[in-house]
Symmetry: D3
Subunit: 248 residues, 6 copies
Amino acid sequence: MKLLLVNPNTTSAITDRLMAAALQAAAPGTEITRVTAKTGVPYISTRTEEAIAAVAVLEILADQGGAYDGAIIAAFGDPGLLAAKELFDFPVVGLAEASMLAACALGRRFGIVTFAQALGDWYGDSVRRDRLEVRCAGIRALDEPFAAVADVQSEKQDKLVELALASVERDGADVVILAGAPLAGLAPLVADRIPVPLVDCCAAAVVQLEAAVRLAPRKATAGSGKRPAFKPSVGLAPGLAKRLAGDT
Amino acid sequence: MKLLLVNPNTTSAITDRLMAAALQAAAPGTEITRVTAKTGVPYISTRTEEAIAAVAVLEILADQGGAYDGAIIAAFGDPGLLAAKELFDFPVVGLAEASMLAACALGRRFGIVTFAQALGDWYGDSVRRDRLEVRCAGIRALDEPFAAVADVQSEKQDKLVELALASVERDGADVVILAGAPLAGLAPLVADRIPVPLVDCCAAAVVQLEAAVRLAPRKATAGSGKRPAFKPSVGLAPGLAKRLAGDT
Amino acid sequence: MKLLLVNPNTTSAITDRLMAAALQAAAPGTEITRVTAKTGVPYISTRTEEAIAAVAVLEILADQGGAYDGAIIAAFGDPGLLAAKELFDFPVVGLAEASMLAACALGRRFGIVTFAQALGDWYGDSVRRDRLEVRCAGIRALDEPFAAVADVQSEKQDKLVELALASVERDGADVVILAGAPLAGLAPLVADRIPVPLVDCCAAAVVQLEAAVRLAPRKATAGSGKRPAFKPSVGLAPGLAKRLAGDT
Amino acid sequence: MKLLLVNPNTTSAITDRLMAAALQAAAPGTEITRVTAKTGVPYISTRTEEAIAAVAVLEILADQGGAYDGAIIAAFGDPGLLAAKELFDFPVVGLAEASMLAACALGRRFGIVTFAQALGDWYGDSVRRDRLEVRCAGIRALDEPFAAVADVQSEKQDKLVELALASVERDGADVVILAGAPLAGLAPLVADRIPVPLVDCCAAAVVQLEAAVRLAPRKATAGSGKRPAFKPSVGLAPGLAKRLAGDT
Amino acid sequence: MKLLLVNPNTTSAITDRLMAAALQAAAPGTEITRVTAKTGVPYISTRTEEAIAAVAVLEILADQGGAYDGAIIAAFGDPGLLAAKELFDFPVVGLAEASMLAACALGRRFGIVTFAQALGDWYGDSVRRDRLEVRCAGIRALDEPFAAVADVQSEKQDKLVELALASVERDGADVVILAGAPLAGLAPLVADRIPVPLVDCCAAAVVQLEAAVRLAPRKATAGSGKRPAFKPSVGLAPGLAKRLAGDT
Amino acid sequence: MKLLLVNPNTTSAITDRLMAAALQAAAPGTEITRVTAKTGVPYISTRTEEAIAAVAVLEILADQGGAYDGAIIAAFGDPGLLAAKELFDFPVVGLAEASMLAACALGRRFGIVTFAQALGDWYGDSVRRDRLEVRCAGIRALDEPFAAVADVQSEKQDKLVELALASVERDGADVVILAGAPLAGLAPLVADRIPVPLVDCCAAAVVQLEAAVRLAPRKATAGSGKRPAFKPSVGLAPGLAKRLAGDT
């Protein structure tokens, strides 16, 4: 099985973290290829940046996705996810969607823990998009500056553990998602300090995508997952324009 | 009061329809300037096309929005609306949001009527985004081909009236929204054939934006409406990049 | 445009506050006439008092409403609002409904701040009536006595600002409604002390009613907004009895 | 146990039907006294008429309620119910609230069947007020004229049975409420023609009120059920004014 | 009226408490017979133990229920309740269902207070099962060890009162349920220390069951309350097997 | 990876179907062992039968589960699932939970199609248990007799396809679950006749369980997933009693 991991952030050090966590979670025989967005911002944390990233993701998938069995949109707010699901024929998952579905299998209510206040509100959009508010115990985010986003998980490890404990003890979470691409790979390192199952957002995406690929669902030709009717366009990246036009 | 009407569709004939409906609804003293998207598709009807349009809208607003008291995103699914609300200092409304809020003041439950099946699911995203499912009696869409999108409101007038009647009689709508930029201006023409208040999506956007401008809300510096922290970016349109970077 | 502002409280000093705030918000060309309830209590704050005020409002509108383009029920819990919407042919708005719809356009979640504990539960009825619970971040109310209800906004200004800040910082409000007729006109005075948009309940009612009048909706003859079938009655005020009987 | 049955409709023939059904359901030792509203309309079926009836109910309870262990507001939309619960010290139930709670004990989802289209929307207000939408399978109402409201249950018996069957077979109701004061006493007559439990709205009110009285709950002095703070008033019926002022 | 009170816990001292509270609440003429489960655990507090108790309850009801007008499943999480409602012809109530419905008649939002942290999550299942989340202000549980479950109500009386007060003051409860079979009979002893109505879970079950019996609902032959189609089985207790097979 | 597939129905022909579908979906290296319940009914379709099956499942898992990396409860209503998740240390999935979570990744709204009317209401319990009502487009069930439950998928294949088409076209499903153990393995046979992705309930359970095992979640020691406190019991199967007592 060949999977494409798309980092919509332009920071390649985050891609490296994601890749390491992905490989650790992957089943034997799964090959994963990484790609980092060339347009956008170093780290996505608002709706504006998500909107920009969504198009970047669609461009990458239009250009490269066809060679893979499935793709991961490796930012927690899942920029472009619903669009990609309708536009492409292969399964696509996002870190947020995959983490939440994995968490639903591991506990009645999940908490979300992340490393910056700005992310909380945007991550909440994913919870609402997937209509999982009643399964979500709350979102807790670090409220202090850090040195480098790619290393925040080690610099702030103790604080993140404290947030996870608060999620369990005060919010009533039965399972905690460590959310955000920069936290990929953190879960196994702190699992013994937190009394409920942890979900590593990148590992969850890999195993959920493997599961989806193995179910081999057919591409929808009806309903909200069907491919958009072919249309001309103006001013788009060539690969994406071709996909919209039905030329690929 | 000076308002900017942004048509995210690339079809200027639709912009003309929108402009006519907007001027008819505007208060004395309101000036409206139109702009048509230069990148994108002739008519947006899917999540993919919305994602593309969202960036086009942000680019236009970054370039031109600063000269206005407020802006209308004149496509019913409101591409880029939440992003624009956080990124810019002036009030921004979308056809869907404005229509639904206007409808909530006119009846307990609103029906949405539009001209193409493909739109229904995407329009439903707007209902869910604004958490108004319980106020929505349902979405009904025409299920037959038409000659030209810019003229669909006259070609299919009788069929659209039938759908509005079904929305009232079968779905229990107390008020009906005629949804989609190509239907702008239709409501006054058919009001006497439908036994509940009609909402013209473009007129609603104008009066709601005027109302918002008159309330003169301050720009949020906290909460989900605050401007994103300044960030560098790569590969974006210059005006949008400057806005992200805090240079405008 | 001629609007009628009905204060369901019997305190004329509150009517004066409402009128001042209304005139400040009104568009050029809007004329507003005030009327104060002659039956009822000085200040409505419970369901019992709302029930009493509802009939007083219907009586006033039956007697005087016909001369206006629209009417404002100027108490935050909107006594008689849904009844008035079905009984009369002109648009009617209430402070609570108008504030909440205006707030929905200005932020994802609104907080409500008011000046007396007793009001909180009753105001919550309005949120539930309009099915906007998921958009409401919470209701916060002053918990201390004040000298005179008509002057509470100046006497307790600092405390009310503290409550608004708590609504933003602890409840996650993106926009705050200063709720209750006695707080009319307060928002502009404290806007620079609160980091999110404020909604003045009376200003919101004026601009929302202007918007509704400009949309010129037809009176419903179907659905829940249609006029009740004509009926005889016993013991009612003459104007209201005539309206029920279809004589006006 | 002494109970007061208040018919907010001014039609005494309906009071007679209610009384007969109430006596049939009452436990040995329960005495029931009837009273018919002297102000209002012959039969309440809209929000306007409910608003008017609410005050009539409060006046009656203020004058006579103190001599009873509990009171029934015997119209299905429960005019004045929440106000009466806060204003008086004895338990008060309404036909709608009592029927729905009784139905919840008898099946997962209840259907509501009534005799006039106009009632459906207003009855829906009761379902929403009590937040029981998810337990309600739907409301079905007769759509044809009848000779006299007090006899509609016999004139239209077969049609009402058809509606109840449709509620079970098409809406998925597990239990059906025969709703509206004029249908009081109908349930036992048609129980063998409908394959799920039936709830007679008046019988349900009696047994639920008996249950509430037997639990002997104390009057709340906190929360939304506490008595309003004493207030002066202008222009109200003397008994109600005294109760508001704390003189009774 | 003859009622069967089934204690699914194996502790007969709890049955005694339940019986005393039941007799105190029962109407004149109601006879109550007690039975204690012979298989299971001393005190049920988890989903595992509920699953085990559910079968024990069904066995007892299959063996003995036929001689009664109705039955109470006297553990707060109502083990086996929905199954019993479909399998048997007489009305069956559970402590949780009955308490919550009684509470809904006594206040807008109910709090639940109990004596052990472990119970909170399981009791929440009952709230969700009956879709009453929006009426529930919260669940509060004692967080300290006690000497004997059958005497916890006297040993921890002051602490339980504190929890009830917190439910009112901090959670906004209008009525409080003292939940769990070991708390049966506590409500009357502490009613004067808590400013809202209290619901005794066992008393509520008795009066609600009396009410249901008096309504004399017919056994459903359609919908989710109908008896399961007859089936053979292997390895079940004889009485239950016969009931499944249609032999009783 | 070694997985245990527990069929709570006593029909071994159904176990064979399940096993074949499970093996087809399993990853290389996954070993699956089957076990058929020895107590209970041939085919579970009501809440009563679910209650009975739940204990049978817990007994089997207590006896045999410890030798496996995870277990599947292979009946669509997931008897005993939440209890098993708290009682045992290995991951446990059910057909309903796994199918719904898999479906959520494949489309916005899932339809459920099954082969007997009786199942619909019970299957709905699973949707509600997992709080996924808003993601569920509806449940459709065959309404005609069949020869043998283990062969219903071939006997009624065309009818089941019709139901799936209705789920898409009339209910708006974006993905369809073929639900019920006897339908295991049907999805791949009819995928080309239905225009949206299909979910085979048994295949979904296998891939979701593999995903859960690979994430290697720790056993909760807090929250609703923690093991019940050790307790003595009376009358239970020895293995289950030992597990409850903490002896295994």
